[in-house]
Symmetry: C2
Amino acid sequence: MSPQRRRQHLVETALQLYRQRPPQDVSVDEIAAEAGVSRALFYRYFTNVGALHGAALGSVVDELTGRITAAAEGPLEAQLRAALGEFFAVVRRYPDSYAALLSTGSATAAGLGDLVERLRGHVVDLVLERLGLSDPQPLLLLTLRGWVSVVETALLTWLPNPEPAQEHLESWLVGQLLAMLRATAAHDPACAEQLAGAL
Amino acid sequence: MSPQRRRQHLVETALQLYRQRPPQDVSVDEIAAEAGVSRALFYRYFTNVGALHGAALGSVVDELTGRITAAAEGPLEAQLRAALGEFFAVVRRYPDSYAALLSTGSATAAGLGDLVERLRGHVVDLVLERLGLSDPQPLLLLTLRGWVSVVETALLTWLPNPEPAQEHLESWLVGQLLAMLRATAAHDPACAEQLAGAL
Protein backbone atom coordinates (compact mmCIF):
# COMPACT_ATOMS: atom_id res chain seq x y z
CA MET A 1 0.00 0.00 0.00
CA SER A 2 1.09 3.57 -0.62
CA PRO A 3 1.65 5.62 2.55
CA GLN A 4 -1.47 7.66 1.81
CA ARG A 5 -3.57 4.55 1.25
CA ARG A 6 -2.16 2.97 4.42
CA ARG A 7 -3.05 6.02 6.46
CA GLN A 8 -6.56 6.05 5.01
CA HIS A 9 -6.89 2.35 5.80
CA LEU A 10 -6.03 3.01 9.46
CA VAL A 11 -8.64 5.76 9.58
CA GLU A 12 -11.27 3.47 8.05
CA THR A 13 -10.35 0.68 10.46
CA ALA A 14 -10.82 3.06 13.39
CA LEU A 15 -14.21 4.17 12.04
CA GLN A 16 -15.26 0.52 11.75
CA LEU A 17 -14.30 -0.04 15.40
CA TYR A 18 -16.17 3.14 16.43
CA ARG A 19 -19.37 1.49 15.21
CA GLN A 20 -19.18 -0.81 18.21
CA ARG A 21 -17.44 1.40 20.76
CA PRO A 22 -16.73 5.09 21.34
CA PRO A 23 -13.26 6.31 20.28
CA GLN A 24 -11.92 6.58 23.83
CA ASP A 25 -12.42 2.82 24.26
CA VAL A 26 -10.48 1.92 21.11
CA SER A 27 -6.74 1.32 21.59
CA VAL A 28 -3.72 1.40 19.27
CA ASP A 29 -3.33 -2.37 19.72
CA GLU A 30 -6.85 -3.05 18.53
CA ILE A 31 -6.59 -0.76 15.53
CA ALA A 32 -3.21 -2.19 14.55
CA ALA A 33 -4.45 -5.79 14.93
CA GLU A 34 -7.63 -5.10 12.99
CA ALA A 35 -5.72 -3.31 10.22
CA GLY A 36 -3.10 -6.08 10.13
CA VAL A 37 -0.14 -3.81 10.87
CA SER A 38 2.41 -3.64 13.70
CA ARG A 39 2.32 -1.03 16.47
CA ALA A 40 5.57 0.33 15.04
CA LEU A 41 3.95 0.89 11.66
CA PHE A 42 0.95 2.55 13.31
CA TYR A 43 3.24 5.07 14.96
CA ARG A 44 4.79 5.97 11.61
CA TYR A 45 1.42 7.40 10.61
CA PHE A 46 0.08 8.78 13.89
CA THR A 47 1.99 10.12 16.89
CA ASN A 48 -0.62 8.66 19.27
CA VAL A 49 -4.11 7.19 19.34
CA GLY A 50 -5.59 10.66 19.92
CA ALA A 51 -4.17 11.84 16.58
CA LEU A 52 -5.94 8.96 14.82
CA HIS A 53 -9.20 9.67 16.67
CA GLY A 54 -8.92 13.30 15.57
CA ALA A 55 -8.30 12.32 11.93
CA ALA A 56 -11.08 9.73 11.92
CA LEU A 57 -13.71 11.93 13.62
CA GLY A 58 -12.54 14.81 11.39
CA SER A 59 -13.37 12.72 8.35
CA VAL A 60 -16.87 12.06 9.77
CA VAL A 61 -17.36 15.79 10.31
CA ASP A 62 -16.15 16.41 6.74
CA GLU A 63 -18.63 13.87 5.46
CA LEU A 64 -21.41 15.45 7.52
CA THR A 65 -20.67 18.98 6.33
CA GLY A 66 -20.37 17.78 2.72
CA ARG A 67 -23.64 15.90 2.77
CA ILE A 68 -25.77 18.50 4.50
CA THR A 69 -24.46 21.18 2.13
CA ALA A 70 -25.51 19.21 -0.94
CA ALA A 71 -29.24 19.23 -0.19
CA ALA A 72 -30.44 22.64 -1.35
CA GLU A 73 -33.54 22.36 -3.49
CA GLY A 74 -37.11 23.45 -2.89
CA PRO A 75 -38.82 25.46 -0.15
CA LEU A 76 -37.16 26.12 3.22
CA GLU A 77 -38.91 23.38 5.18
CA ALA A 78 -38.09 20.75 2.57
CA GLN A 79 -34.45 21.91 2.48
CA LEU A 80 -34.20 21.63 6.25
CA ARG A 81 -35.82 18.22 6.24
CA ALA A 82 -33.40 17.00 3.56
CA ALA A 83 -30.37 18.39 5.44
CA LEU A 84 -31.53 16.81 8.72
CA GLY A 85 -32.10 13.52 6.90
CA GLU A 86 -28.48 13.53 5.69
CA PHE A 87 -27.27 14.50 9.16
CA PHE A 88 -29.22 11.70 10.81
CA ALA A 89 -27.99 9.15 8.27
CA VAL A 90 -24.34 9.84 9.09
CA VAL A 91 -24.88 10.11 12.85
CA ARG A 92 -26.79 6.81 12.95
CA ARG A 93 -23.81 5.08 11.36
CA TYR A 94 -21.55 6.34 14.18
CA PRO A 95 -23.83 6.89 17.18
CA ASP A 96 -21.13 6.24 19.78
CA SER A 97 -18.64 8.46 17.99
CA TYR A 98 -21.17 11.25 17.76
CA ALA A 99 -21.99 10.93 21.45
CA ALA A 100 -18.27 10.82 22.23
CA LEU A 101 -17.63 13.87 20.07
CA LEU A 102 -20.25 15.87 21.97
CA SER A 103 -19.57 14.45 25.37
CA THR A 104 -17.26 15.95 27.87
CA GLY A 105 -14.74 13.15 28.02
CA SER A 106 -13.14 12.92 24.64
CA ALA A 107 -13.70 16.47 23.47
CA THR A 108 -10.57 17.69 25.22
CA ALA A 109 -8.44 14.71 24.26
CA ALA A 110 -7.25 15.88 20.86
CA GLY A 111 -8.75 19.26 20.08
CA LEU A 112 -11.98 17.47 19.21
CA GLY A 113 -13.88 20.40 20.69
CA ASP A 114 -12.79 22.36 17.60
CA LEU A 115 -14.35 19.72 15.35
CA VAL A 116 -17.67 20.10 17.16
CA GLU A 117 -17.48 23.89 16.90
CA ARG A 118 -16.70 23.61 13.18
CA LEU A 119 -19.72 21.41 12.64
CA ARG A 120 -22.00 23.71 14.66
CA GLY A 121 -20.72 26.76 12.79
CA HIS A 122 -21.31 25.04 9.49
CA VAL A 123 -24.92 24.19 10.36
CA VAL A 124 -25.58 27.76 11.51
CA ASP A 125 -24.04 29.18 8.31
CA LEU A 126 -26.09 26.81 6.22
CA VAL A 127 -29.40 27.82 7.82
CA LEU A 128 -28.41 31.49 7.53
CA GLU A 129 -27.72 30.99 3.83
CA ARG A 130 -31.04 29.25 3.30
CA LEU A 131 -32.76 32.11 5.14
CA GLY A 132 -30.90 34.57 2.92
CA LEU A 133 -29.21 36.31 5.87
CA SER A 134 -25.62 37.48 5.53
CA ASP A 135 -25.35 39.78 8.56
CA PRO A 136 -27.74 38.36 11.21
CA GLN A 137 -28.82 40.16 14.35
CA PRO A 138 -27.15 38.76 17.51
CA LEU A 139 -30.45 37.36 18.78
CA LEU A 140 -31.04 35.57 15.47
CA LEU A 141 -27.61 34.02 15.69
CA LEU A 142 -28.39 32.97 19.26
CA THR A 143 -31.64 31.39 18.05
CA LEU A 144 -29.80 29.32 15.46
CA ARG A 145 -27.07 28.27 17.91
CA GLY A 146 -29.77 27.36 20.39
CA TRP A 147 -31.54 25.25 17.79
CA VAL A 148 -28.31 23.41 16.98
CA SER A 149 -28.08 22.49 20.67
CA VAL A 150 -31.70 21.31 20.54
CA VAL A 151 -30.77 19.04 17.61
CA GLU A 152 -27.78 17.70 19.54
CA THR A 153 -29.78 17.09 22.72
CA ALA A 154 -32.56 15.41 20.76
CA LEU A 155 -30.11 13.16 18.90
CA LEU A 156 -28.26 12.12 22.06
CA THR A 157 -31.55 11.23 23.74
CA TRP A 158 -32.98 9.54 20.67
CA LEU A 159 -30.01 7.51 19.40
CA PRO A 160 -29.95 4.89 22.20
CA ASN A 161 -33.72 4.38 21.80
CA PRO A 162 -34.89 5.68 18.38
CA GLU A 163 -38.53 6.47 19.16
CA PRO A 164 -40.46 8.21 17.55
CA ALA A 165 -39.54 7.32 13.95
CA GLN A 166 -36.75 9.34 12.36
CA GLU A 167 -39.09 11.24 9.99
CA HIS A 168 -41.23 12.24 12.95
CA LEU A 169 -38.25 13.57 14.89
CA GLU A 170 -36.93 15.41 11.82
CA SER A 171 -40.19 17.19 11.17
CA TRP A 172 -40.47 18.02 14.89
CA LEU A 173 -36.99 19.59 14.76
CA VAL A 174 -37.90 21.66 11.69
CA GLY A 175 -41.05 22.79 13.48
CA GLN A 176 -38.97 23.77 16.52
CA LEU A 177 -36.63 25.88 14.39
CA LEU A 178 -39.45 27.74 12.66
CA ALA A 179 -41.23 28.32 15.99
CA MET A 180 -38.02 29.59 17.60
CA LEU A 181 -37.33 31.95 14.70
CA ARG A 182 -40.89 33.29 14.76
CA ALA A 183 -40.70 33.83 18.53
CA THR A 184 -37.44 35.75 18.03
CA ALA A 185 -39.07 37.86 15.33
CA ALA A 186 -42.00 38.56 17.67
CA HIS A 187 -39.56 39.55 20.40
CA ASP A 188 -37.27 41.86 18.44
CA PRO A 189 -38.30 44.19 15.59
CA ALA A 190 -34.82 44.20 14.03
CA CYS A 191 -34.92 40.40 13.82
CA ALA A 192 -38.45 40.54 12.43
CA GLU A 193 -37.21 42.85 9.68
CA GLN A 194 -34.37 40.50 8.77
CA LEU A 195 -36.66 37.49 8.72
CA ALA A 196 -39.46 39.17 6.75
CA GLY A 197 -40.09 37.06 3.68
CA ALA A 198 -37.80 34.23 4.80
CA LEU A 199 -40.39 32.41 6.92
CA MET B 1 -12.08 26.51 63.66
CA SER B 2 -14.12 23.31 63.87
CA PRO B 3 -13.34 20.74 61.16
CA GLN B 4 -16.70 21.42 59.50
CA ARG B 5 -16.13 25.19 59.57
CA ARG B 6 -12.60 24.74 58.21
CA ARG B 7 -13.86 22.61 55.36
CA GLN B 8 -16.53 25.18 54.54
CA HIS B 9 -13.90 27.92 54.64
CA LEU B 10 -11.80 26.07 52.05
CA VAL B 11 -14.88 25.71 49.83
CA GLU B 12 -15.65 29.42 50.14
CA THR B 13 -12.04 30.34 49.41
CA ALA B 14 -12.15 28.22 46.25
CA LEU B 15 -15.38 29.90 45.18
CA GLN B 16 -13.78 33.31 45.72
CA LEU B 17 -10.88 32.30 43.48
CA TYR B 18 -13.29 30.95 40.86
CA ARG B 19 -14.62 34.46 40.44
CA GLN B 20 -11.39 35.37 38.72
CA ARG B 21 -10.45 32.07 37.13
CA PRO B 22 -12.09 28.78 36.15
CA PRO B 23 -11.62 25.89 38.63
CA GLN B 24 -9.09 24.02 36.49
CA ASP B 25 -6.73 27.02 36.78
CA VAL B 26 -6.89 27.13 40.59
CA SER B 27 -4.27 25.04 42.45
CA VAL B 28 -4.05 23.56 45.93
CA ASP B 29 -1.18 25.96 46.71
CA GLU B 30 -3.28 28.99 45.86
CA ILE B 31 -6.28 27.83 47.84
CA ALA B 32 -4.14 26.91 50.85
CA ALA B 33 -2.29 30.25 50.74
CA GLU B 34 -5.50 32.24 50.35
CA ALA B 35 -7.19 30.32 53.18
CA GLY B 36 -4.12 30.67 55.41
CA VAL B 37 -3.58 26.94 55.87
CA SER B 38 -0.76 24.55 55.01
CA ARG B 39 -0.88 22.08 52.13
CA ALA B 40 -0.87 19.29 54.72
CA LEU B 41 -3.98 20.69 56.36
CA PHE B 42 -5.68 21.06 52.97
CA TYR B 43 -5.15 17.35 52.31
CA ARG B 44 -6.79 16.46 55.63
CA TYR B 45 -10.03 17.80 54.19
CA PHE B 46 -9.77 16.93 50.49
CA THR B 47 -7.94 14.04 48.85
CA ASN B 48 -7.03 16.25 45.89
CA VAL B 49 -7.87 19.54 44.23
CA GLY B 50 -10.55 17.83 42.09
CA ALA B 51 -12.44 16.83 45.25
CA LEU B 52 -12.50 20.45 46.37
CA HIS B 53 -13.65 21.62 42.92
CA GLY B 54 -16.43 19.04 43.07
CA ALA B 55 -17.51 20.17 46.55
CA ALA B 56 -17.34 23.87 45.62
CA LEU B 57 -19.19 23.55 42.31
CA GLY B 58 -21.65 21.21 44.01
CA SER B 59 -22.45 23.97 46.49
CA VAL B 60 -23.08 26.37 43.57
CA VAL B 61 -25.42 23.85 41.98
CA ASP B 62 -27.17 23.43 45.35
CA GLU B 63 -27.56 27.19 45.62
CA LEU B 64 -28.90 27.34 42.05
CA THR B 65 -31.44 24.57 42.57
CA GLY B 66 -32.52 26.08 45.90
CA ARG B 67 -32.99 29.56 44.50
CA ILE B 68 -34.83 28.64 41.34
CA THR B 69 -37.18 26.40 43.32
CA ALA B 70 -38.12 29.21 45.68
CA ALA B 71 -39.71 31.45 43.04
CA ALA B 72 -43.17 29.97 42.45
CA GLU B 73 -45.83 32.68 42.50
CA GLY B 74 -48.10 34.04 39.78
CA PRO B 75 -48.77 33.03 36.18
CA LEU B 76 -46.44 30.70 34.25
CA GLU B 77 -44.53 33.40 32.36
CA ALA B 78 -43.86 35.36 35.53
CA GLN B 79 -42.71 32.21 37.34
CA LEU B 80 -40.32 31.35 34.52
CA ARG B 81 -38.99 34.91 34.45
CA ALA B 82 -38.40 34.84 38.20
CA ALA B 83 -36.66 31.45 38.06
CA LEU B 84 -34.44 32.60 35.17
CA GLY B 85 -33.64 35.78 37.09
CA GLU B 86 -32.40 33.73 40.05
CA PHE B 87 -30.46 31.45 37.73
CA PHE B 88 -28.79 34.37 35.98
CA ALA B 89 -27.91 36.02 39.30
CA VAL B 90 -25.97 32.97 40.51
CA VAL B 91 -24.34 32.26 37.14
CA ARG B 92 -23.19 35.87 36.79
CA ARG B 93 -21.38 35.58 40.12
CA TYR B 94 -19.43 32.55 38.83
CA PRO B 95 -19.33 32.93 35.04
CA ASP B 96 -16.04 31.08 34.63
CA SER B 97 -17.14 28.27 36.91
CA TYR B 98 -20.39 27.91 35.03
CA ALA B 99 -18.56 27.80 31.70
CA ALA B 100 -16.08 25.33 33.17
CA LEU B 101 -18.90 23.18 34.52
CA LEU B 102 -20.51 22.97 31.07
CA SER B 103 -17.34 22.80 29.08
CA THR B 104 -15.62 19.67 28.05
CA GLY B 105 -12.43 20.08 30.05
CA SER B 106 -13.35 20.00 33.68
CA ALA B 107 -16.57 18.04 33.43
CA THR B 108 -14.72 14.75 33.44
CA ALA B 109 -12.22 15.76 36.10
CA ALA B 110 -14.25 14.89 39.20
CA GLY B 111 -17.63 13.55 38.12
CA LEU B 112 -18.71 17.14 37.46
CA GLY B 113 -20.75 15.87 34.53
CA ASP B 114 -23.16 14.45 37.13
CA LEU B 115 -23.54 17.89 38.69
CA VAL B 116 -24.55 19.34 35.32
CA GLU B 117 -27.02 16.52 34.74
CA ARG B 118 -28.47 17.05 38.20
CA LEU B 119 -28.97 20.74 37.49
CA ARG B 120 -30.54 20.05 34.08
CA GLY B 121 -32.86 17.44 35.56
CA HIS B 122 -33.88 19.84 38.27
CA VAL B 123 -34.77 22.58 35.78
CA VAL B 124 -36.78 20.14 33.66
CA ASP B 125 -38.65 18.85 36.73
CA LEU B 126 -39.36 22.39 37.83
CA VAL B 127 -40.88 23.40 34.49
CA LEU B 128 -42.89 20.17 34.40
CA GLU B 129 -44.23 20.93 37.86
CA ARG B 130 -45.17 24.47 36.87
CA LEU B 131 -46.89 23.07 33.76
CA GLY B 132 -48.76 20.61 35.98
CA LEU B 133 -47.34 17.55 34.17
CA SER B 134 -46.37 14.48 36.15
CA ASP B 135 -46.03 11.93 33.33
CA PRO B 136 -44.93 13.90 30.23
CA GLN B 137 -44.93 12.53 26.69
CA PRO B 138 -41.38 11.74 25.42
CA LEU B 139 -41.53 14.60 22.91
CA LEU B 140 -42.51 17.06 25.65
CA LEU B 141 -39.58 15.92 27.74
CA LEU B 142 -37.33 16.36 24.69
CA THR B 143 -38.72 19.87 24.23
CA LEU B 144 -37.84 20.80 27.81
CA ARG B 145 -34.37 19.25 27.61
CA GLY B 146 -33.84 21.08 24.34
CA TRP B 147 -34.86 24.36 25.93
CA VAL B 148 -32.41 23.81 28.80
CA SER B 149 -29.66 23.48 26.20
CA VAL B 150 -30.88 26.70 24.56
CA VAL B 151 -30.55 28.43 27.96
CA GLU B 152 -27.03 27.05 28.38
CA THR B 153 -25.95 28.02 24.87
CA ALA B 154 -27.42 31.50 25.29
CA LEU B 155 -25.71 32.00 28.67
CA LEU B 156 -22.32 30.83 27.42
CA THR B 157 -22.54 33.21 24.45
CA TRP B 158 -23.92 36.06 26.53
CA LEU B 159 -21.74 35.94 29.68
CA PRO B 160 -18.49 37.17 28.09
CA ASN B 161 -20.37 40.05 26.43
CA PRO B 162 -23.71 40.65 28.21
CA GLU B 163 -25.72 42.22 25.37
CA PRO B 164 -28.72 42.57 25.18
CA ALA B 165 -29.68 43.47 28.79
CA GLN B 166 -30.41 40.55 31.12
CA GLU B 167 -34.16 41.24 31.27
CA HIS B 168 -34.30 41.22 27.49
CA LEU B 169 -32.50 37.86 27.27
CA GLU B 170 -34.69 36.38 30.03
CA SER B 171 -37.92 37.32 28.31
CA TRP B 172 -36.54 36.06 24.99
CA LEU B 173 -35.78 32.69 26.65
CA VAL B 174 -39.28 32.48 28.11
CA GLY B 175 -40.69 33.27 24.66
CA GLN B 176 -38.55 30.51 23.16
CA LEU B 177 -39.84 27.96 25.67
CA LEU B 178 -43.47 28.83 25.04
CA ALA B 179 -42.95 28.77 21.27
CA MET B 180 -41.18 25.41 21.46
CA LEU B 181 -43.94 23.91 23.62
CA ARG B 182 -46.65 25.22 21.29
CA ALA B 183 -44.82 23.82 18.25
CA THR B 184 -44.60 20.45 20.00
CA ALA B 185 -48.31 20.58 20.78
CA ALA B 186 -49.04 21.41 17.12
CA HIS B 187 -46.86 18.48 16.05
CA ASP B 188 -48.21 15.79 18.36
CA PRO B 189 -51.85 15.40 19.51
CA ALA B 190 -50.86 13.52 22.69
CA CYS B 191 -48.60 16.42 23.69
CA ALA B 192 -51.33 18.90 22.81
CA GLU B 193 -53.68 17.08 25.16
CA GLN B 194 -51.15 17.15 28.02
CA LEU B 195 -50.46 20.84 27.48
CA ALA B 196 -54.10 21.88 27.13
CA GLY B 197 -54.78 24.53 29.71
CA ALA B 198 -51.14 24.85 30.76
CA LEU B 199 -50.15 27.37 28.04
